[in-house]
Amino acid sequence: MGTTMTLDKKKSKKITPWLFLAPHLIIFAIFFFIPVIFGIYISFTNWDLFNTPTFIGLDNYKELFFNSDSTFYEQLRIGLKNTFKFVIFSVPFCIAVPLLLASALNTKPKLAKIFQSIFYMPSLFAISAVVIIWKLIFNVNYGPVNNILNTDTPWTGTQPYAWIALVVVTVWWTIGGNMIIYQSALSGISKDFYEAADIDGATAVQKFFKITLPAIKGQILYTVVMTTIAQFNIYGQPLMLTEGGPNNSTRVLLMYIQQNAFGSGQSIAGIASAMAVVLGICIMCVSAIQFKFLKVED
């Protein structure tokens, strides 16, 4: 009797953890793990979302990289180029602007709490709402920007203004998170360092580069990597603000992926998946490089 009891108890002990884990593991397997494997597989097929995919080896990738007559070759080039451009244009601002704001807030000026709320707030809005607001702001005729600057610049319709508009909207929308991260990092730096530097007669700039930056290096690395990954997934801003224009100059890869897989007309999910894999590899490579590069610094 006694032994069966302990056996049962042992058995139930082994099962209980899995009962706690089951809900997540099932959802994880069905909606993350299996789709990822399947996604890589279908990039080697000529799938159309509905019929059984046929394995065609590297044909999709050959088409994307080597067939210069193909529209998909063109799409990958344009899409990837514009995605990279967006990352290069936007990430520096998404790091520098919140760092400046956090540094200013760290001096504990009047109304600091209110300022903080104002800068954080936009990150809680949906991108479609954000774009609608900014489309009005940038409107050629009745937008405040042109009326204040007294110009009639077509912000979303010509370059380089379209890129400027995209970066402005993105910075406005996203800096809140990074700013809070820097704020909590800055508040953790001991005042002694600055006082010692003051005695040595260091300037504010010297203090910033010699004390502040090294002290929050970890958080900067984290935000650079996370921001870069986020900006590689750029989609909503060019879709609604510039509509990919002018002349496809802001059409990003995710727009082509979405269009090829789910757009009107025949789905070419195989090619779209290959594009997604290429974008995924770019994201992984860039974040790996960033980790290496920023880790080596110290």
């Binding site: 209980t16 953890p17 899995w18 706690f20 884990l21 997540h24 959802i27 994880f28 909606f31 993350f32 299996i34 789709p35 990822v36 399947f38 996604g39 890589i40 979302l49 704001l101 540094s103 200013a104 001096t107 000026p109 600091a112 300022f115 709320s117 104002i118 954080y120 707030m121 809680l124 809005f125 949906a126 479609s128 709402a129 774009v131 609608i132 900014w134 489309k135 009005l136 702001i137 405040p144 406005w172 991260i181 704020q183 909590s184 504010a204 958080q219 690395l221 935000t223 990954i229 995710l254 979405q258 897989a261 779209a272 998946s273 997604a276 974008l279 995924g280 994201i283 992984m284 974040s287």
Partner: protein, 278 residues
Amino acid sequence: MKKISLSQIISFLFLIVMALIWLVPLIYGVLTSFKSEMELMTAGFKILPIEWVLTNYQELLVNNTSTPLVKWFFNSLFISVSHTLLVLVVVSLSAFAYSRLEFKGKKKLFSFLLATMMFPSVVNLIPLYKIVDILGWVNTPLAMIIPGAAGVFNIFLVKQFMDNIPKDFDEAAQIDGANDLTIFFKIILPLIKPVLLVVALFAFTSSWNDFLWPSIVFNDIEKMPITSGLQLLQGMYQSQPTLLMAGALIAIIPTFILYLFAQKYFLQSMSLSAGVKG
């Protein structure tokens, strides 16, 4: 009296300028939503409406049948609330197992899950649609409620928090004859409320604001959440910015209100998420 330093004055001036830049688009948007179409087009550039009107809101909320904004709003509310509840249940159960229970392969499984966080989610976009389609969830709220609960980050966050709760509590309860379920509900759950609130806020806002995914899984206008609805609205009413503005503002009200009430926790959660990594 407290001394005000030069750096505080410079910071204050800088922050005032930046805050204006951050506020003006929003305030101008709100004011525009109370202008009539005619006024915006013909009256020249004015900040305040000459005549305050509610026609844009009326048009969207009452008269309009081709763009059911009220329906979109409640679709989003249902989706976001359900998603948040699901995430809370799934995340707290898993975190409890990884933090408190012993089982074979625990460390390996947890490291594997963490490693998957590095994987770019763009690769699973297309197959995820297929799976949701096979399950018959296209054009249903389930397409947005459940797949998002596969994420690992929240489990990590809650587990870290749980790890800081002394094991003595559980052991004392065990001696009193409590089983794992009782320990979870009676001891751990009440103690992790702060971090669960953080998870809930993030789950709600990210679900409410999701854009690409709902635009793929919803094509039935009646079933859409409000973010997809706004995209449709923008396509249909390109030439009616005052109406669009009213729509955009209605869509940001819930997260705005949530922020007003839970500001402290939002800010705390951001630094928490970096503290974990940094």
